[in-house]
Assembly symmetry: C2
Homo-oligomer: 339 residues x 2
């Protein structure tokens, strides 16, 4: 049995989306059991009338909620009765709990995970690794997408090893193609950190390093994961998301500006639905935090039930594939590897 704790509050569609997503995950994985944290009476009322295996669902009462605009360090220190901190403490204290899922404040989750959960042996800093869809129907991971605004080449090396293992073990991608985000393809591009990382990754036998990637190629399908500092990774992910959303809005706005376009759109209803579904990040789950000593998955604040279900699935698959053990072993062997 794989046990995961789900923070049921803190998102735009909480707690309904969190609870519904939890029930779907329970239905999908028969060896999964969940603990839901949050206001018990609210959760119980939302569960009423739903069908689920009650033996695999437990509620832990936590009446408080951390808001997205609260200062993370204050929140984790003061809001001990919040659904997120309760989840973090359960994860820390209970040996049989493998991981947690939250769609609440990113800052509080990172701060809480770092101070309460800690990192795997050998890991310098954990890194976020969200997944985006590529244009040929595949996926691409971005590591780090924001946990570390400043990095060194040693961090980036670890991000590459962790992301490669994640893509292989959780998404079944053999020999993932790992690229370094840079301002050009050539080895000497970028700052000294990028140049050093390029050399290090080129010599690392445990990953399939394919060189520098320019950000315009992110969705091309030529890469399985791209390694970057959290600042530019954040820019990469949010720009992709922002441009896609704005562009689809523009298409929609243009269509509704003239009747003849609307007539055209009648023939394409399914197409627009397909495109929207393709660009719908809800379908790709959340951003896992790689390198923490227990599994932590952060869903988008706007997560609906399907996204929460995917986050739980990510946590489940990380645990089922013993990803943490594999990361520890790889870092032990390759972190100080000198070619």
């Amino acid at each position: 049995m794989i046990k995961i704790v789900v923070d049921c509050f803190g998102g735009d569609h909480s707690p309904e989306a969190n609870i519904e997503g939890s029930l779907s995950a329970l239905d999908k994985f028969k060896d999964l059991s969940l603990i839901l944290t949050g206001d018990e009476s609210v959760i119980k009322s939302k569960l009423e009338g739903k069908e689920y295996d009650a033996d695999r669902l437990q509620i832990v009462h936590a009446p408080d909620v951390i808001g997205c605009d609260e200062k993370p360090t204050d929140a984790i220190r003061l809001k001990k009765e919040s659904s997120m901190i309760k989840a973090i403490r359960l994860l820390r204290d209970e040996d049989d709990i493998a991981g947690m899922v939250s769609v609440g404040s990113t800052g509080a989750l990172v701060a809480g995970a770092l101070t309460r959960i800690g990192v795997l042996e050998g890991v310098i800093r954990p890194a976020f690794c969200p997944i985006l869809p590529t244009m040929n129907g595949g996926i691409v991971g971005i590591c780090d997408s924001g946990a570390n605004v400043e990095v060194t080449a040693a961090y980036l090396k670890q991000f590459a090893i962790m992301a490669s293992l994640y893509l292989e073990n959780v998404y079944g991608i053999q020999n993932p193609r790992i690229a370094l985000l840079n301002v050009g393809k050539e080895a000497e591009k970028g700052d000294s950190i990028r140049q050093e990382t390029y050399r290090t990754l080129s010599e690392l036998p445990c990953i399939n390093f394919v060189g520098n990637m320019e950000s315009r190629d992110l969705l091309s399908g030529s890469y399985d994961a791209v390694i970057c500092d959290g600042f530019s990774g954040n820019v990469l992910v949010k720009t992709t998301e922002g441009t896609a959303v704005e562009l689809l809005l523009k298409v929609k706005e243009t269509i509704f500006s003239r009747t003849i376009y609307k007539i055209g759109a009648l023939f394409q209803k399914k197409m627009f639905a397909d495109l929207k579904s393709f660009m719908n990040y809800q379908n790709y789950g959340g951003s896992v935090l790689l390198g923490t000593s227990k599994v932590v998955v952060k869903g988008h604040g706007s997560s609906k039930a399907v996204a929460v279900e995917k986050c739980i699935e990510q946590a489940y698959r990380m645990e089922a594939s013993s990803l943490s053990e594999k990361i520890t072993a790889a870092l032990d062997k390759y972190d100080h590897y000198e070619g």
Copy 2:
């Protein structure tokens, strides 16, 4: 008369696009005169049969071309007979030449401009400031988009002052809204450079600083210019471009996958043309280099005639508005301003 030198080679559509763009610009601005550098016989043969004011067009022979994959420092040292280096040397040596336009190697142009042209008094480092279209029909500048992969808060402060003056003087935007690219809206977000820059820009009376911008809001129309280091600026611009291109390809591919979608598209031909034109960076000219002692405009390598014409127009308007003098004066007054 405003005199500008146009490097006629080095782009995907050179020299035809460069020559055609030059003729359009000459036609548009009657007080503009151009010098074209490149293989004289080739340029002459392309000019044959075209109508233009020969008094305002001069050719300077330069038989060589710098390739995009050549090492910039070698290229500017060894390829003295190339169209780009000839243009740079003319700009340096002739007092009456105000600026230059090139669609060739970015690296060679930056290196050449830095070593041969130099910077305006008070400028630490020049920065690129390309323009992108926003979703509400406006524009947004990104400064720096790649000339400086490493920066300090002092650089970013200068980029903000220069970009603000550029948007105001060349695009007629009154009191441009200047934002700092960051991983969140709050003042304390980002690394120490971003935090310091936030404080500095907040206190600077000569610009309209509106706070941090998250990259997903780049095209929203809420900002006139966003200030960033060249690494993340490069990611920002190329990701926007890449996502837009990939998404429109996806729409096209989806349409051609089913007859019924194609029928719909018949009603929307003009709409797709409008969208394509909207996302067509050719219409927005090139990336100006702010802070060099004479005007330098870098067009995209794939520039067609319309883009080259826009680049020349940018150089023309920079000179016509005395942008350099205004930058020098503003830096003199505000660069060491302490609130």
